[in-house]
Amino acid sequence: MEKELRLMKGNEAIAEAAIRAGADGYFGYPITPQSEILEYLMEANPQVTTGMVVLQAESEVAAINMVYGGAACGKKVMTSSSSPGISLMQEGITYIAGAELPCLIVNVVRGGPGLGTIQPAQSDYFQATKGGGHGDYHLIVIAPSSVQEMADFVELAFDLAFKYRNPAMILSDGAIGQMMEKVWLKPPKKRSEEILPWATTGKPATREHNIITSLDLDSERQEKFNMKLIAKYREIEEKEVRFEEFMTDDAEYLFVAYGTSARICQKALQLARVEGIKAGLLRPITLFPYPKKRLNELADTVKGMLAVEMSAGQMVEDVMLSVNGKTRVGHYGRMGGMIPTPEEVVENLKSFIKG
């Protein structure tokens, strides 16, 4: 079957891509600006076509724990929410990480803290990339910057999640969730019938009983398990870094931005070039693992880096850690649901250059 071209909202693209990626289950709770995901899935009713389960849970807490239960069966399961709902899910997410289960969590970020606003923001970066819940763990975090990537990254996130038995998050925002763009949809895949050896699917005589848990009361064993997790995260950092570069060859100043901010910086870069400023852009696609190595290399050739993000300054800390003092690092951010315009980004680049 051929790819199919559609005009879709980012949220709808995620939903459709989940069906086509052969997802087994979606469990969610409505919250703006991502309710279209649940609505689209309910309308599409994949239970009758692919057998995918779609369930509106009583809360985000229940939704993430449904994901936990489904993932523990080795099923391809997911949830989505927006910032306040993702905060509620943190307990479940740390259990899932601790039990080493694959799943997909989508966060269509809105401004906070608290109930905040329903407009786009990138202020959940720390929560997404540094853990979020309690304990030492990481999610694999992927940041789409177009509707096409909202669709494509569903399958990518599932693949990485199963490859490493680790929860993966698509960190999007209200802008990408709500905007419509062209999207090429892949032909639908069948749901997998495979029974994974570690999954709880009923104990046959041929194996020991499988126990999915994050509990170990023995500290020595728990520490060994922590070391195993860290080794996994190091391997992910080694193998799974993804990023995109724009005009970095001759760039004297580098924007570092992801998601919606990266789109704005693409325009800002063009405007800056018209004014004779040799600007470039590095767009991290994976936020964990972060493209530390490449940023460190670029620090040798640029005069400074400006992190642009819709937050008070979160990702900028990773830029600083990556360049480790080799070059100047600045930050420009808008908050509370405000989206910077390309023009104001250029103005801020100019003042950054002046120092």
Binding site: V53, L55, E58, A62, Y68, G69, V77, G202
Partner: protein, 259 residues
């Protein structure tokens, strides 16, 4: 007649009762006299007799029975506190042919997990919820539970449960029975052999109803906590009969129409 020696007595032909083959040899961490061990054994007997080992996924709670997965030889998922019914919902929806149960204490099911309990039952998920109600938080050292009786002392109600500041004990089974999604709600006990046999019959019915996809089955086991109640096992059983049973009367609360 010569007196029987120990070795004469333990011969296999003299066995009248044995643990289920599905019970592992791991030493249980439960306190002497606790009802959990009996409840586990009864459940394991049903799973064995109904040939369900390869079809069963159990969800354990946070509480004393958190390590239940060490004692019964079936696949288990260990849930976060109160969330077992959410896990069970997904497991059953994704694998409708499996036998799925949760095993939860009173803090897990009736306090922190109230929303999950109510909504799972309200959706009528085809699962079994086994609810062990001993009116106290055992694992964390004897704090007040939502089901702690009025006047009953615990480490967080040292002067006894005071209704005006701590609310009344909650009768979960009665609440659950009001929800159309549930098909079978019953209250049982494991303090006597008869009680254990009745519980076994109830679990067998729940297996049947789950097979018939008739909705949620909810079995409450009113049980004891010698350590938490600060009593000997015998005293705790007597106290349970005199105080718990009148407030949480045993017997069926809701039964489905026979087909």
């Amino acid at each position: 007649m010569a007196e029987l020696t120990f070795n004469d007595i333990i011969k296999p032909e003299n066995l009248t009762y044995t643990k289920s083959k599905l019970m592992t040899d791991n030493v249980m961490h439960y306190c002497p006299g606790c009802g959990h061990g009996t409840a586990h054994q009864v459940l394991a007997e049903v799973l064995e007799e109904e040939n369900l080992q390869s079809k069963t996924i159990g969800i354990t709670p946070v509480g004393c029975s958190v390590l239940m997965y060490n004692y019964i030889d079936i696949d288990f998922q260990e849930a976060a506190h109160g969330r077992a019914p959410a896990l069970a919902t997904a497991v059953k929806r994704l694998m409708p042919d499996k036998f799925v149960f949760t095993y939860q204490g009173d803090g897990d099911l009736a306090a922190i997990g109230t929303a999950e309990t109510i909504h799972t039952c309200n959706r009528g998920e085809n699962i079994l919820i086994l609810f062990i109600n001993n009116g106290i938080y055992g694992m964390t050292g004897g704090q007040m539970a939502p089901t702690t009786l009025v006047g009953m002392k615990s480490s967080t109600s040292p002067y006894g449960r005071n209704v005006s500041t701590m609310g009344s004990p909650i009768k979960m089974a009665d609440i659950i029975a009001m929800l159309p999604g549930t098909c079978y709600v019953t209250r049982q006990s494991v303090n006597t052999p008869l009680g254990a046999r009745k519980l076994k019959r109830a679990i067998k019915k729940a297996v049947q109803y789950q097979n018939e996809k008739r909705g949620t089955c909810f079995i409450e086991v009113v049980s004891n906590c010698p350590s938490g109640w600060k009593m000997t096992p015998v005293e705790s059983n007597k106290w349970m009969e005199e105080n718990m049973f009148p407030f949480y009367p045993l017997g069926d609360i809701k039964v489905p129409e026979e087909k």
